[in-house]
């Protein structure tokens, strides 16, 4: 299993080194690679539809079910694709308990309508720290909890000097009352990171924004 996992990981990393930024410590993840796959698959589908239309303008004289005889082959192909897709992505589960990397910093995140409160753990109920500073390279475990309704703890990165004008979403986790959810991340790029609520939590949901800093030692 170990070998399979590593091979799978190598495969994805070879295709796009940043495809799984989480825990890999690379904050350069973007969805370009998936976007290209989606666009290619859509293009192939459209070509398929055009071919289908063409075929109906050139009907067979005798009904031979030319394509239908390959149905079993087709099923085998898609089953293999789906198994490969599942197996190769399993090593990158977004759950801290699925990984052996231990965090060296824990941040408590409390959410309530319509604000965020970050504080160094363990200190539930401790005062919020504005623009909390985290040292570059730390493996950070965020413990998230809500004081009222369900929120979504989403973290975006944006570098003003980068060519990416839209920033990028690095990770997220749901924040639910009476439960403590968690997410782990290693920051490797200094700068400001933005928190945005990613679960509809009421009329002020769109204002639920905060930030923190990653600073080099």
């Amino acid at each position: 299993m170990f070998i399979v996992q590593n091979s799978a990981r190598d495969l994805w990393v070879a295709l796009d080194p940043n495809v799984f930024a989480i825990l890999a410590g690379e904050a350069g993840y973007n969805l370009t690679y998936l976007e290209v796959i989606f666009a290619a698959a859509t293009a192939i589908t459209i070509v398929g539809f055009v071919a289908l239309y063409w075929s109906t303008k050139h009907p067979e004289e005798k009904d031979t079910h030319a394509l239908a005889k390959y149905e079993a082959h087709w099923v085998i192909v898609i089953v293999i694709i789906f198994i490969l897709f599942s197996v190769t992505t399993l090593p990158y589960l977004p759950y801290p308990y699925a990984h052996s990397v231990k965090p060296n910093v824990v941040i408590d995140v409390q959410a309530q309508q319509f604000s965020w409160c970050l504080s160094p753990a363990p200190a539930w109920g401790s005062p919020c720290v504005q623009n909390i500073n985290i040292t570059l390279g730390d493996v950070v475990l965020f413990y998230v909890r809500s004081l009222d309704v369900t929120h979504g703890f989403g973290v975006y990165q944006w570098n003003p000097n980068s060519s990416n004008a839209y920033g990028q979403i690095l990770f997220q986790v749901q924040v639910m009352p009476n439960y403590t959810n968690s997410v782990e991340y290693q920051f490797t790029t200094p700068g400001t990171y933005y928190i945005r609520c990613l679960e509809f939590c009421g009329y002020g949901h769109y204002t639920m924004i905060s930030s923190f800093n990653i600073t080099a030692v």
Binding site: Y92, P94, D148, G154, Q172, Q174, N181, G202
Partner: protein, 672 residues
């Protein structure tokens, strides 16, 4: 002989070759004595007494109600787009953040419940009489279903009108906590009306399911599904056939099970999914109503979230599955050939039945408190639903491939729908993967996924079916084909443009459900604007494309009722040539008297679209003899020879049918 054979088999006396030979002999014997009818059709079935005028009346009322809700819910969506895309660049926000929450709730519920429920009720109640030849188990329940649904659902919308706005899936405890103390836009009264309305809506579902299961399994019907000789009619055999599981049985067992038509299998699968997931959902609604009465709730938030999604995922399929059933039913008619294998038609359905509910936990991938076993199950189920969809799409493609396909309006809508299904499926598989979902959850990619699947998948299929069945259920002839074409192209261009733009928004990380995705506190969000405006533009296109549809529908319904003509038993009859949306079977050997006498299938108007400004089909009084008049534009589609027809009242058609049937049989006896 059989006993001896069994004994020989038991004791191993027979050689392999002898067994095979005897099996072949038995198969031959069976096939001669019991010809197996294919469960799919290459022509519309002949008129059936099962689709009674009463059933037709309530089916069409349910479908009218569904499209009324569709138009209202769609209009609400347009206002959401102005809030997000139009503001502040074009026209400024029309609503407030609070109104945006209400729009969000009303649009989602309006489409998934307000539109889908009555449409699925109507379609499922249509396919049993139409394709199984069975009168509904209790058609008098249709008005009960209609009333319960209408009361329940409009209570839901009423609560939203008065301020209730926690989103269409109302994650607990948001319904009871609309904002910081003193600022909540709604209170317990609105929440109570909402939960009460949802409970009544779901009671209509239970009544509907009772009717469907009765129609599928009751022993009161004297037909081939209950009484075919030498076949297995046990409940387990019927249940297996009703969900398509017979496709997985060994040949010897399969051959003794009477297969159900695909449209009926689809209706059964979707109803089963809904009913299996109803108890947890009703528990949740009960809890919501209880808490609204200021009582302590009995579900914790994680369980509540599970109970929402276990029902809300199958909801998405509620109308979609029966519509896939209609692909399997109508596409062979358009392609003028049958499937290469009846078995492949049924293979996806048991998978869809299980995965329809089993995928639900992929809505909770970002809840690390959710047990991992459920996450793993739902990831695998999400992949399996991709496999089931892949099989369906391939089966349909293979059928159409190099056939003499009739690209009528319904066929075009189906093609758009299948394209939306596939493209939305790509995104669904992507998001159904736990490791990727961390980047995509609650972004516009999710919105893109279900708009490809719903706006470009379910809705076009529903329009296709509506264009097909309206002449039959409403005895009306479509007012204009041109308006239908404009509707198709506008909806398709706008719909795919909108969902495609949502995908772009998703890939750049724009969160969904934001009153204003662009925020000054987030400098990188300024770049979202052009995409939001593009989405707004496509939404306008979709909305504009519905205007010809509404006009066409109104003019059609206000137009003259088509009295089903009964062609007198004279040798010369109108020979139908396949034409766009002509409901006539391409096979003229089908009993045209029977088809036309019933005002169903073939009896729907000779041409479904009449040219604007002209009326085809005289509307003389009952039992008068008239000549069928065809509009100028219709002539090329029909080789009109000589037709003599009787105009009849719908209610008296049963009597006339039996009379005509008798005359036909007499004629056959004479000629025989």
């Amino acid at each position: 002989m059989r006993e001896k054979e069994r004994e020989e088999l038991l004791f191993g006396y027979l050689e392999r070759g002898t067994i095979k030979k005897r099996q072949e002999e038995r198969e031959e014997e069976n096939s001669m004595s019991q010809p197996q009818m294919p469960s799919t059709l290459t022509a519309e079935p002949a008129a059936t007494q099962a689709l009674t005028p009463y059933t037709r009346k309530w089916v069409r009322r349910l479908i009218y109600l569904s499209f009324l809700n569709f138009i209202i819910a769609g209009t609400l969506a347009l206002f959401m787009r102005t809030d997000q895309g139009g503001a502040p660049a074009l026209i400024g926000p029309l609503g407030t953040p609070q109104v945006f929450g209400q729009l969000l709730t009303a649009h989602g519920l309006g489409m998934f419940v307000g539109w889908q429920f009555p449409f699925a009720y109507g379609l499922c109640s249509y396919v049993f009489p139409k394709y199984m030849g069975r009168k509904l188990y209790n058609e008098k329940l249709l008005p009960v279903i209609f009333t319960l649904f209408a009361v329940g659902f409009y209570l839901v919308w009423l609560s939203i009108l008065f301020g209730f706005g926690p989103g269409w899936y109302f994650l607990f405890p948001l319904p009871f906590h609309g904002g910081p103390a003193g600022t909540a836009p709604w209170g317990p009264a609105e929440a109570l009306v909402f939960f009460g309305g949802m409970i009544i809506t779901n009671i209509s579902l239970i009544v509907f399911a009772f009717n469907i299961f009765g129609s599928a399994f009751s022993t009161k019907y004297d037909d081939k599904y209950n009484n075919a000789p030498r076949m297995n009619h046990s409940f387990s055999a019927k249940f297996a056939a009703s969900i398509g599981f017979d496709a997985y049985m060994p040949k010897a067992v399969r051959e003794r099970v009477v297969s159900y038509p695909p449209a009926v299998i689809a209706a059964m699968v979707t109803t089963l999914d809904m009913i299996v997931s109803a108890p947890p959902f009703l528990t949740l609604l009960g809890d919501g109503a209880w808490v609204s009465l200021n009582q302590p709730g009995f579900l914790n938030n994680l369980v509540a979230k599970n109970f929402v999604w276990i029902n809300y995922h199958p909801i998405v399929y509620f109308a979609f599955f029966p519509l896939i059933g209609m692909y399997y039913t109508l596409i062979p008619i358009f392609a003028r050939k049958n499937f290469a294998s009846e078995r492949w038609v049924r293979v996806p359905w048991p998978l869809l039945l299980i995965t329809g509910v089993g995928v639900y936990s992929h809505h909770l991938f970002m809840d690390t408190s959710q047990p991992y076993v459920l996450q793993l199950m739902s990831q695998n189920m999400s992949m399996t639903i991709g496999i089931a969809s892949g099989i369906s799409v391939f089966t349909i493609f293979a059928l159409i491939w190099r056939s003499r396909y009739e690209w009528n309006l319904t066929a075009k809508f189906f093609a758009a729908s299948i394209l939306g299904w596939i493209v939305g499926g790509f995104l669904g598989v992507e998001q159904g993967n736990t490791s990727l979902d961390i980047y995509e959850h609650n972004t516009y990619l999710v919105v893109s996924h279900f708009h490809f699947n719903a706006l470009d998948g379910i809705i076009p299929a529903a329009f296709g079916v509506l264009y097909w069945i309206l002449p039959e259920i409403a005895s009306k002839q479509w007012y204009s084909k041109t308006l239908g074409e404009i509707h198709f192209w506008g909806s398709s261009i706008g719909g795919f443009g909108l969902a495609g733009t949502f995908a772009l928004l998703g890939y750049i990380g724009v969160p969904r459900r934001e009153y204003s995705p662009i925020s000054q506190a987030l400098p990188f969000t300024a770049g979202y604007q052009p995409f939001l405006i593009l989405a707004f533009f496509f939404a306008i296109v979709v909305a504009a494309a519905q205007i010809p549809f509404i006009w066409n529908l109104i003019r059609t319904l206000l137009g003259p009722t088509i009295k089903p003509p009964v062609v007198a038993p004279v040798p010369e009859v109108a020979v139908p040539v396949p034409s766009p949306l002509s409901r006539q079977s391409p096979d003229p050997t089908l009993s045209s008297e029977v088809r036309e006498s019933k005002g169903t299938a073939g009896a729907s108007p000779p041409v479904s679209f009449r040219p604007e400004g002209s009326i085809s089909g005289a509307s003389a009084g009952p039992a008068t003899t008239t000549m069928t008049s065809l509009g100028e534009a219709d002539k090329p589609e029909y080789q009109r020879i000589e037709t003599q027809s009787l105009e009849l009242d719908l209610d008296s058609t049963d009597d006339i049918l039996s009379k005509v049937e008798l005359e036909r049989q007499e004629g056959m006896n004479k000629s025989g």
